[in-house]
Symmetry: C2
Subunit: 409 residues, 2 copies
């Protein structure tokens, strides 16, 4: 059709893509993990996805209709990069009710899930070579953008009460002595992914003191905070720190649906303004955000949580009792007060490589513990997600896991 | 409530935010322009926003309902970072019908509007100091991320047939001789923003030859390609280049609604795979994308274009004839075959600073030409958007502009 069709040789035809990629693109790791396409006979305790049966489709349809019928043009035009006010106001009121945080809509910026929130925090505060502190283990989806932006990652030990302030202080002191710049503490102190652990309030207070002393910004990922089925909600780092030097990152992914891709950062106004300003993607869809806001403001979100929290409690309980029955001999595990995960530690007698093979044979999938460590570690761990599978699948899946473990001894 | 409440002095309280921002954040420019909050008596020929009266709210409500009723869980779970297949298939079929491009769904990645598409192309291919070539003038929303990623920007002259290949070659030759690395040509060859000009096919062919010779990736922004009210659609750079060394960036923002935030990049599979991989935001909302896909696949998008294109033709014609009537003495302007904009050049007799004041007095807003230049330039230009205002507003607004120009002579 054009003069170029007959050229036999173009430089692009033989070009190695690596020759033209930016340095950033050449070294950055892949941005997402996945359980892959899966045989329907396999039972998957994989990604953190809400219970599919109770997704509130009807409420979302009704919310979308109300939004477009009442203000179609408003919802279908650019909304700016901070995100629609109506959702930020609802989020502020909710957080104030939960912990008297003293926030208003101006303390929130909406993001494309907590994934974009994490990336935004990193690129705004972390230069290549700066250090990000994380828990050991930590959320795998946080590690990928940290590596993409060439942060050095330093992990800090945790126990059943969360991160250890003494270990945190030692790590920071060692880093500073080595001339490093610890910039950010990325932490999931509540219903932690992958372990389900909640960091105690005294530990949080000690961490705030340390982060203030060393001028380290706390980025609290609270993706699972609303999925609490027992125990008390602790105050956020943002609250404990008096609204200074701390961000709270969250999302509707766990409390509502992963397919909406709406997250947010709560933080000091000056930092939120910086996130809003340094953004080139035009912000989230006002139609989408207003639909979710309408769902929330109408009370549907509270009703939805009243429906799903008992389901998650039941699923957690069934998984824990199945583990007791089938896996107690060669494994131990956490007893989370909510969230989506149980974290399994295998006895020394279990051969992790053999276990992988045996689980494949038995057709049961869990996330390998190694994904959740910044460095070596996790070979003797598995993360089991109890939110997505049905109760019969949970019981059958843990039965299969028990058999696989026996085979790997 | 906590031990920290009584501390009188925290380091964060007195910290200058600049001390802890990354280098990237310290130098990056603000990501969005805006016409600001506007007095309702002011007539705005500002941002490129579709006709508000004809936004297809009812069709989108129906599409959202069909999506959630037929596959709620599918639409409400993570969809991966390439974007829902159904929309990529529709886009591929459409492009093949328009220009026999030989593409399939694998040649597309969905993005948060064309804004994210532009940022993705830059960060994947451009290191700080590398050169991005642009037209003179060019889209202001493209310049901001180029500056954020510290690209050097080199602009190339254009005339009524688009960019000048001789000027392009001279610029590239000069850059290469100076040891620079021209990496990307960001261009809007069809219904160009801000001028409305369409680059001729021979010019495109010459540019492809040059970009192949110098190994420069072409990033064609085709945001306005569907908004053609007369003349022939030329083949894309991607088509002319035989699917190598060229990307096509587009969006539903102009053909449907800006508030949906769905864009895409079409490109060689290897490059698309790289974009999909190097992404940390979890991808677009499957619910949102499937809603738009359902709207498109059902034929609603074609019907919508049949409705709006005559409206845009009428608005353009009314603006051009109002300009003839009111502004011909001290200004000239482009006659675009579509898109949303007319580009005005003021006669030397007009004082641009006086014109700003007179336009504020007359209550009419247009985008100053300076926004669209990488360097100096544009002081004698205005971009007028005809898509958003009503026809009476267009006629009254141009009357006001005519009076303002007379006052600025």
């Amino acid at each position: 059709m054009t003069a170029l069709d007959n050229r036999t040789e173009r430089r692009w035809a033989s070009l190695d893509l690596n020759e033209i990629l930016s340095n950033w693109a050449r070294h950055a790791p892949s941005g997402s993990g996945s359980d892959g396409a899966v045989d329907p006979e396999v039972i998957v305790f994989g990604g953190g996805i809400p219970d599919p049966e109770s997704l509130p489709s009807a409420g979302l349809i009704a919310a979308a209709r109300r939004v477009l019928e009442h203000d179609g043009p408003g919802a279908l035009e650019y909304g700016g990069t901070q995100g629609e006010l109506i959702l930020r106001e609802w989020l502020a009121e909710r957080l104030n009710r939960q912990e008297d945080a003293g926030v208003s809509a101006e303390h929130f910026v909406l993001t494309n899930g907590s994934g974009q929130a994490i990336e935004m925090a990193i690129r705004t505060f972390v230069d290549p070579g700066d250090v990000i502190l994380v828990e050991r283990p930590t959320y795998s989806g946080g590690l990928r953008p940290m590596r993409a932006y060439k942060a050095e990652i330093a992990d800090v030990e945790m126990d059943a009460d969360g991160v250890l302030p003494e270990a945190f202080e030692q790590t920071v002191t060692r880093l500073v002595a080595a001339g490093k710049r610890p910039k950010l503490f990325y932490t999931m102190p509540t219903l932690h992914n992958p372990t389900g652990i909640t960091t105690s309030v005294p530990r949080r207070e000690a961490i705030v003191e340390l982060c203030d002393r060393f001028v380290i910004l706390i980025a609290e990922d609270d993706a699972y905070g609303e999925i609490r089925v027992e125990g008390q909600r602790p105050p956020s780092y943002y609250k404990i720190a008096g609204g200074q030097g701390a961000l709270r990152l969250s999302t509707v992914s766990k409390m509502l649906a992963t397919g909406l891709r709406i997250g947010w950062i709560t933080g000091p106004k000056e930092i939120v303004d910086t996130f809003v300003r340094l953004r080139y993607d035009g912000g989230l869809s006002p139609f989408l955000v207003r639909t979710v806001a309408e769902f929330c403001v109408s009370g549907d979100e509270d009703r939805h949580l009243e429906t799903v929290l008992p389901i998650y409690k039941e699923k957690r309980d069934r998984m824990l009792s199945a583990l007791d029955e089938r896996c107690a001999r060669y494994a131990s595990w956490t007893h989370p007060e909510g969230g989506f995960f149980v974290w399994v530690t295998l006895a020394d007698a279990v051969d992790p490589a053999k276990l992988q093979d045996a689980m494949a044979q038995e057709k049961v999938i869990a996330r390998p513990g190694t994904q959740f460590f910044a460095g070596a570690g996790g070979a003797r761990n598995l993360r089991l997600c109890f939110s997505t599978a049905t109760i019969p699948e949970i019981e059958e899946g843990i039965r299969r896991l028990g058999r696989a473990i026996e085979q790997a001894v």
